[in-house]
C-alpha cells in the first residue's frame, strides 16, 4: 500500500480545502467502476482519517448508500474512522513477523505508550496500529513509523526508537 500518500502536508489545509481536494479525487475516479477503495485511500491521505461526515460526503457525491461506504471502511483495517497521531506506528503481524516476536513488540509499545491497538496518545503524537504483512518478511520483525521502516526490531530497543520522535 502506498504509505507515501499519507505523508502530504494536508494537516495545514483547512477543512474546506481538504473536502475540496477529496471532491477532486472523487471527480477523477467517479466513472471508473470499483474505485471506492481508491477514493477512500486517497481521502484518508488527505483528511488523515475517515470520520462519518467525510464518508457521507463521499457517499453523496458517488450517489451510493452510506452503508456501502461504511461497510468498506470497516472491512479494511487500513482505514480508520478516528483521528490519528502525528506519528503512526504500525507493527507488522504478518506470518514472518508474528513468529519472530511481533506480538511482543505490540506488548512493549503498549507499556511504553500506554496505548491499545488503534488508540492515539492524548497529546496526538503517536497512534499504535497493527498490519498484516508489510512485505518486509526478510527484515522480520518489522515496524513502520510513518514511512520509515525499522527492521529486526528488538523489543528492548523500542524506547530508543520512540525517543527519536
Amino acid at each position: 500500500m502506498d504509505i507515501q500518500v499519507e505523508q502530504c502536508n494536508c494537516s495545514e489545509l483547512t477543512e474546506e480545502e481538504k473536502l475540496e481536494r477529496i471532491a477532486e479525487v472523487i471527480e477523477d475516479y467517479r466513472h471508473r467502476e470499483g474505485s471506492l477503495i481508491q477514493i477512500l485511500h486517497l481521502a484518508q491521505g488527505i483528511y488523515g482519517y475517515l470520520p462519518i461526515h467525510v464518508q457521507k460526503f463521499i457517499a453523496q457525491r458517488l450517489n451510493i448508500p452510506l452503508s456501502e461506504v461504511y461497510g468498506v471502511v470497516s472491512f479494511y483495517s487500513f482505514f480508520t474512522t478516528s483521528k490519528r497521531g502525528k506519528y503512526v506506528i504500525r507493527v507488522c503481524l504478518g506470518t514472518a513477523c508474528y513468529v519472530r516476536g511481533g506480538k511482543k513488540i505490540v506488548e512493549r509499545l503498549h507499556e511504553i505508550l500506554g496505548l491499545d491497538v488503534g488508540e492515539t496518545t492524548p497529546d496526538g503524537k503517536f497512534t499504535l496500529e497493527v498490519m498484516r504483512c508489510i512485505g518486509a518478511c526478510s527484515l522480520a520483525p518489522a515496524i513502520t513509523i510513518n514511512d520509515t521502516v525499522y527492521k529486526q526490531v528488538n523489543p528492548d530497543k523500542l524506547q530508543q526508537i520512540i525517543d527519536l520522535y
Binding site: I52, I64, P65, L66, S67, E68, Y70, G71, S74, F75
Partner: protein, 594 residues
Amino acid sequence: MVNLTINNKKISVKEGTTILEAARQNNILIPSLCYLENVHVFGSCRICVVEVEGARNLQASCMVPVKEGMVVRTNTERVRKARKLLYELMLSDHPDNCLSCQRNQNCEFQKLGEIIGISKERFDGEMYMSKVDDSSPSIVRDTSKCILCRRCVTVCNGIQGVGILNAQNRGFRTVIGPPGTLALNTVNCTYCGQCTVVCPVAALQEKDSTQDVWNALSDKDKRVIIQTAPAIRAALGEEFGYEPGTLVTGKMVSALREMGFDDVFDTNFTADLTIIEEGNEFLRRVKNVFSGVPDTLPMITSCSPGWIKYVEHVFPDELDHISTCKSPHMMLGALAKSYYANKIGEDPRNIFVVSVMPCTAKKFEITRQEMINNGCPNVDAVITTRELAKMIKDAGIDFSKLEEDTFDNPLGLSTGAADIFATTGGVMEAALRTVYEVVTGRELPFDKLHVESLAGFEQIKTAEITIRDPVPEYKFLDGFTVKVAVTSGLAGAKKLMNEVAQGASPYHFIEVMGCPGGCISGGGQPRPTNDYIRQKRLEAIYKEDEGKTLRKSHENPFVMALYDEFLKKPLGHKSHELLHTHYVKRGIYNEYLE
C-alpha cells in the same frame, strides 16, 4: 437445452439454469438456506453444496450453471457431512432460545435443521454479541439471530434501491445493518419492511404491537374499532394453511368479532373515499394548470407510507407533487373519531382504532405529528397480517371453522375500486374509473373496467387516455390526453422521480406503491412472498373486485351519505381538516430535521 445427470436421473434443462434450479425443476430438492428464487442468488451459506464429477471441491449448486454432460450427486455421504458441518457451525453462533423466538416453527433455519437431520449441538462456539435495535416504530433488528445470508441486503439495495442495510465490519464481527452504530430511526430507512419478509430467521421483524391491542380489548372503558386493509383478505388465509390466493374476507370478519372488537370496519371504505378526494384533487390541479393558476403536476399518490418517507428523504424538494390525501386507514381513523363518534355518541378519547395492515411502515405513519386531530391520534395501533394471524391463534379461534360474516356499516361498505388498492396499478385504475366518468359522463372504456396496461408486475407501466366529448364543466379538456404511470418498489419510484425532479416527466398522474407488486406483497404480509404467491394474491384481489355489484368509488352510497351528512363536499373544509395532510422535508441524512 443442456443435458446432464443428477443422482443418476438424466435431465434436460435450459441453458443458464443453475444446478439447484435444474434439480428443483426435476423434483430433486437440494436443501438450501440463503437462496431465494429470483431475488437472492448469492452463495453465502454454502448449504446447497453438491458433488460435481470432475470438480475437486463441492460446488454451491445455486451458483453453478449446468453444463452439457455434467454429472451431479446431491445426496452422497460427503455432501451430507459437509452441509451438516456448515449448519452446525452456523448453529454454534446462533441463540438456542427457539421456544421463545417469534419465528419458532416459522423459521427457515430451524426447518433446515430438521430436514438435514440435526439432532445435537456439536460445537460450543463463541456467540456474537446480541444487539437489539428497536429504535424504530416499525422494524426490530436482532443481530444475534442473524445468519449473514444477506437476503435483506439484496432486497434493501437491489430491489428497493434504498441501501440502509449492508455488511459492516469483518469476519466474526460482521454485522448486517446501517452504517456504524447508527440506529434504524436515525437513517433514511423507509420502514417498507421488505427485509422482514425475506429474513429467514428472527433477525429482522416488525415491532410487535399485539399486546397494545390485547390491552385495549381488555379495557372495558374503550370502544375498540378495527379496520382491515384491502390486501389482508387475500393473504391472511396462508397463515392458516389455505392455498395462496384464497379470499378469507368473511372468516376474517368473524374472527375479529370473536376477538371482541366493537366495530369491524373496512379500510376499503376510505379507499373509496380516497378516490373521491384524490380524484377531485387531481382535477383541481389539472384545472389550475389549464387556466394558468400555479399548481403542480404530475400528481403522485400518497397511500404508501414507505414511499412517502422515501420521497421525503430522497426528493425533499418535490413534495408538492404528492397528493395531500392521507392514506385510507388514517382517513378511517380520523372519521371513526369524529363522524362515527358523533353518530354513536362516544367520546373520541375513549375510542381505540386498530388497523390491520400488510405493511410495517404504517406503524411509523400513525406516530407522525400530522396524524393527530383534536388531540387524538387518528389510529392507535397497527398490526401486520402476520401479527393478526398470531392473535387469532392466541385467541383460540379455529379459523377454518368460522362462518362468513360481513363488515359493519357505515364504514364497512366498499366498491370493487377499493379492493384493487391492494395491488400495483389498482389505485390508478380506481381513480380513472371515477375521474373519467366525472369528466365525460361515461364509463371508463375498458373491458371489465380494467386498464390492462397498468396491471401486472412490470416495474413501470403507463397508459394514455384521450378525453373526447366531455361534460360542459370540463369542456377545456376536450382532446386532452391524460398520461399516467404506475410503479411499485422504490427502485422504480426513483426512476420516475428523477424525471420529475428534472422537470422532464411526461406524466400527469403517477401511482407509487413502496413494495414490489403493491400491498399484496407488503412488508407485513405472510412469509414467504414469492412470484407464484404474489400472482395468486393478485388474482384474488381482482376476483373480489369483479364479484362486487358496485365497482366505482363514486357509487358507494355510504361515501355519498358521508358527504351529505358531514363532509359536505370533496376538498371542503372538513376534508381538509381530517383527510388531508402535509409532508416533511427529511433529506437523505435527515439533514433537514436537524
